[in-house]
């Protein structure tokens, strides 16, 4: 039963993902790319507002919080009644991270980055390992047409509403 269910979905999606004929013109989603070069721009930045938070990690006296696809906020929390932002780690394409000793490990688009954070205000990239994670090539929470993602153009960091011309990909 379960496999039938999965099989049907898979089959229908496969069909749905075939090139449309004619191609679709109209409203849909378009990928927003970050160049692979820009992905490596990892550094401290000015503090910034939290707009779309992700995973969190508590290590006194700091609380670390992902800003999806943008970086990691760092807050000083030794006074629970008056937490203060300290810095922001710019990590393009980040969704998640963890800490061990002096190091922070995070996804950086499809790459795995190791960052020395022993000096919280002056972080240093230790290594970037390319293409450890598979990229997401479809818009989440979207039913309809979208411009097919082309990884040769860069890492897909987000999706924006757009009027599409000759769109060939579809989710439903």
């Amino acid at each position: 039963m379960r496999y039938l269910f999965i099989g049907l979905i898979y089959l229908s999606l496969f069909v749905a993902c075939k090139k449309q004929d004619p191609l679709f013109d109209g409203p849909g989603k378009r990928p927003v790319y970050i160049s692979y070069e820009e992905l490596t721009d990892i550094r401290n930045e000015e503090i910034q507002p939290v707009t779309n938070s992700g995973p969190i990690f508590l290590r006194d006296p700091y609380l670390f919080m992902v800003e999806k696809k943008q970086g990691i906020h760092v807050f000083e929390i030794s006074n629970s009644s008056d937490p203060q932002p300290v810095t922001f780690f710019k990590i393009p394409g980040v969704n998640d991270f963890t800490l061990s000793g002096d190091f922070l490990y995070a996804d950086n688009g499809p790459n795995l980055v190791t960052i020395n954070i022993s000096d919280i205000l002056n972080i240093q990239v230790v290594s970037i390992q390319n293409e450890m994670f598979q990229p997401m090539l479809f818009p989440p929470d979207h039913e309809g047409f979208f411009e097919c993602a082309d990884p040769s153009k860069g890492f897909v960091s987000s999706w924006k509403d757009a009027i599409l011309i000759n769109a060939a990909c579809q989710t439903w």
Binding site: R2, F5, I6, I9, Y10, L13, F14, C17, P49, V50, T51, S53, G54, P55, I56, F57, L58, R59, D60, L63, M65, K68, I77, N79, S80, S81, D82, P83, P85, N95, D96, T98, L99, S100, G101, D102, Y105, D107, L112, T114, N116, V126, S127, Q129, E131, M132, F133, Q134, M136, L137, F138, P140, D141, C148, A149, D150, P151, S152, T171, W172
Partner: protein
């Protein structure tokens, strides 16, 4: 990556994950994960990375990756465990990995950290298929939230739930209890009190888990868009979409607001 033919093959897989996982991409892990034991700190319940001694475990869409740290701190990939698609969260509790996916709870033994052994994989078809599920473990019980979003995440006629598994036999977890939720996210516990973020209810719902099979809500902490919790001694952090709040949970039946930061 420029191989479009290859891409076309990949897309349907992603679409499949999209439909089942879709709106559930809101990620955000706590109780006392492994990493807390060495004074390293603690994560929330929603995380795709976990550190265990000299090893880093990371989730990709359909594999659990095992890395070993080298002398300079860089993780070196040493093993991979292939799974079905839709992996979402990982936690480590007593030499055991618990992975939440859109379709299953996976349990793996890491007595040998470099070579995780799959002990079991729940088949949620009979209870809940689909969903997004951070997991916390306390003794022989695993608590997991399942977020069902109609037509997007899970089957239409199901509701989101907190699920309680008896994991005394890690090769055969048994669903022993649960409670309906609206749109649950991360969770954590202190002693016999479980805190579950319910975005749908705009609250952190507080459960008495003295008898885990019959967990009952005892109160709710009002907070908009709660995502995840970390409980650190008598202090609880609740993250939200746009900030976080601190609470004093010394007396879990009387949680006190301490401070917050939001934008």
């Amino acid at each position: 990556m420029s191989n479009l033919v290859n891409m076309k093959k990949i897309i349907p897989f992603f679409l499949f994950v999209a439909v089942l996982a879709g709106a559930c991409e809101k990620q955000g892990e706590t109780f006392i994960p492994n990493s807390a034991q060495n004074g390293n700190g603690q994560s929330g319940s929603i995380t795709r990375f976990a550190v265990y001694g000299e090893y880093l475990y990371a989730l990709d869409q359909n594999q659990i990756q095992v890395y070993k740290f080298n002398a300079s701190g860089t993780p070196v990939l040493v093993n991979k465990v292939e799974t079905q698609w839709g992996l979402e969260t990982i936690i480590i509790y007593e030499e055991t990995i618990y992975v939440g996916s859109t379709t299953s709870l996976y349990i793996l033994d890491i007595t040998n950290p470099e070579n995780p052994i799959l002990l079991s994989q729940t088949d949620r078809e009979t209870d809940l298929a689909g969903g997004c599920d951070p997991v916390v473990v306390k003794g022989i019980y695993a608590f997991s939230t399942i977020k069902i979003i109609p037509n997007v995440c899970g089957l239409v006629n199901q509701t989101s739930r907190l699920l309680v598994y008896d994991v005394s036999d890690k090769t055969a977890p048994v669903l022993v209890g649960g409670h309906d939720m609206m749109m649950p996210n991360g969770l954590g516990y202190k002693d016999n009190t479980l805190f579950v973020c319910d975005e749908g209810a705009a609250a952190v719902v507080v459960f008495d888990i003295t008898d885990p099979a019959n967990c009952t809500p005892i109160s709710a902490i009002d907070i908009t868009d709660p995502v995840d919790v970390i409980i650190n001694g008598n202090r609880m952090v609740v993250s939200t979409k746009t900030g976080f709040s601190f609470y004093d949970v010394t007396n879990p039946s009387q949680v006190l607001s301490m401070g917050s930061l939001s934008f």
